[in-house]
Amino acid sequence: MKKVQFNNRFIPYLFILPQISIIAIFFLWPSAMAVYYSFILEDAFGISSEFVWFENYKSVLLDSDYIASLGFTLIFSVLVTFFSLAIGLFLAYKTDKSIKQKGLYRGLFMWPYAIAPAVVGLMASFFFSQSNGDLYNFLNYLGWEFEPKSDPLSAQIMLIFVASWKQISVNFIFFLSGLQAIPKSIIEASLIDCKSSIKRFWTIIFPLLSPTTFFLLITNIVYAFFDTFGLIDTTTRGAPMGETKTLAYKIYQDGFLGADIGGSSAQSVLLMIFILVLTIFQFKYLEKKVHY
């Protein structure tokens, strides 16, 4: 914080009040309700309800559907994170090296950021459609029996591909600005010391990018967990048999469409704990970074 500050008892509250009141009404209140509901069992008509302690959590964790969804979410987020990070870094590195066309390439790889996941999903639905979708026809022509409507593996691979396509641009933008922040003198010194450009990349440039990479790692996991909601809702909707359901999508399906408030709230709380752990982890790391 600042060394010089205003000393006034009343005015700071005036400035912070708008945000705090919005948070209180639209964030804290519903979040508290989610926690409360997670301990409640309602009957089918919502007339009577009973406090059941951890009953909802128990049934969620014992539900094979939940475990399957957890498994898919983890694999999905690891693969989407890996592919979109690797390709984003590769494109940023190549773009950073091409001096004359840097602005052009930056524009070419940046704009997909602006497309909503739901729009990307709908486009993918047409390209992968079994009625004359070009990519559907192409993959089957190659001899792969690609059937996203009935074959879980096809659907999962399609989702990973589409979700990565959408996410590459974000990673590209951050890596490019990370690369541009590396001092010229370090690059020039490394040119003299090390002839191989691949070795130079892994021993000098990649370690210098590690704060960006770490930050993006968290961002990409959060993207795969939550922001892919719209993408799933306009492609597989969890089909064929729930094999492409992320945890966030399952909460929506169980809670909003299935009206299982207790179960879906328990899932929300579990997910909240997961993000809490991720955030603590992130801050621990950032603190470390500040020390040296």
């Binding site: 600042k2 400035f15 804290l28 519903p30 909503a116 709908l122 486009m123 047409f126 809702d233 306009t234």
Partner: protein, 281 residues
């Protein structure tokens, strides 16, 4: 060396085509008649149905959206995106000002309250959020559409970081000149933050435009539909419905849903990158 350079250019151009071609194909297909698309699939070359398709999609209340034209949907998306971006910039620049420039008792507690919002995205508290809105009678209203989305902390952190980078001498000098906290905020800090505000505004405009789940949940009356809601309706009628889909109109809506945010990103590139990269530090 030369061949290596050419190789990287070829790779970069090919990769950029992976992003461009799908959009082009959707656009080209939108200029054909539905019969052509039904028989021949997606089209790579332009057809001659461009004006017909886009005119009927934009101005006619038919097809997917019986009660509202797509032009009205775009209007709703603009209201959402602008309201969200403006609200976010105002509210978070004020909150960050309180946190950075004042010493007050609840400062660190309130900072943590704001921080908490990062933990629970809307997607996972969707049912109780819906109930709160219903209790407050805010379903099917622009207030209910925009205000709950402003809660999150990203903008506040963005301005907090920026204010902290402003030298202390500025406040000392202002104090010597007898400026009070309100004058310092309006006359000195806000003019200094212009670029940062524009940058955050651009990023938040896109985030607001692309909201999907929240508008779907809390609008049941078609007059509040955003274009992203139209996208959901297209999915339902094309892949779950039983009647013959009007492909060209569907493709035109995809193009209309993405053209606004894409243009904003391209036209305001520098602000956009600044807003994106700085807000995440």
């Amino acid at each position: 060396m030369k061949t290596k350079q050419y190789a990287s250019h070829i790779i970069l151009v090919l990769m950029s085509l992976i992003f461009l071609v799908p959009i082009w194909v959707i656009f080209a297909s939108s200029t054909h008649t539905p019969e052509t698309i039904l028989n021949g699939g997606l089209q790579f070359f332009l057809g001659d149905n461009f004006l017909d398709t886009y005119r009927s999609v934009l101005f006619e209340k038919s097809g997917y959206t019986k009660h509202i034209t797509v032009l009205q949907m775009i209007g709703n998306s603009l209201i959402l995106a602008l309201g969200f971006a403006v609200g976010k910039v105002i509210i978070s620049s004020m909150a960050a000002y309180a946190i950075v420039y004042f010493r007050f008792r609840l400062a660190s507690f309130l900072f943590w309250v704001i921080f908490l919002t990062l933990l629970l995205p809307l997607e996972v508290r969707i049912v109780p959020s819906f109930e709160v809105l219903a209790k407050l009678n805010l379903l099917n209203s622009y207030t209910g559409l925009i205000v709950p989305l402003i809660a999150s902390a990203t903008g506040t952190f963005f301005f907090r970081q920026f204010y902290k980078s402003i030298p202390d001498e500025l406040l000392e000098a202002a104090k010597l000149d007898g400026a009070n906290s309100w004058q310092f905020f309006i006359d000195i800090l806000l003019p200094l933050s212009k670029t940062m505000m524009a940058a955050l505004f651009i990023v938040m405009f896109i985030v607001g435009w692309n909201q999907y789940l929240w508008p779907i949940m809390m609008t049941t009356e078609p007059e509040y539909s955003t274009i992203l809601l139209g996208i959901k309706e297209i999915y339902q009628s094309n892949f779950e419905g039983s009647y013959l889909p009007e492909f060209n109109r569907a493709f035109a809506m995809i193009i209309l849903a993405l053209i606004v945010p894409v243009l904003v990103v391209i036209l305001f590139q520098r602000w956009f990158i600044k807003g994106l990269v700085d807000s995440e530090k």
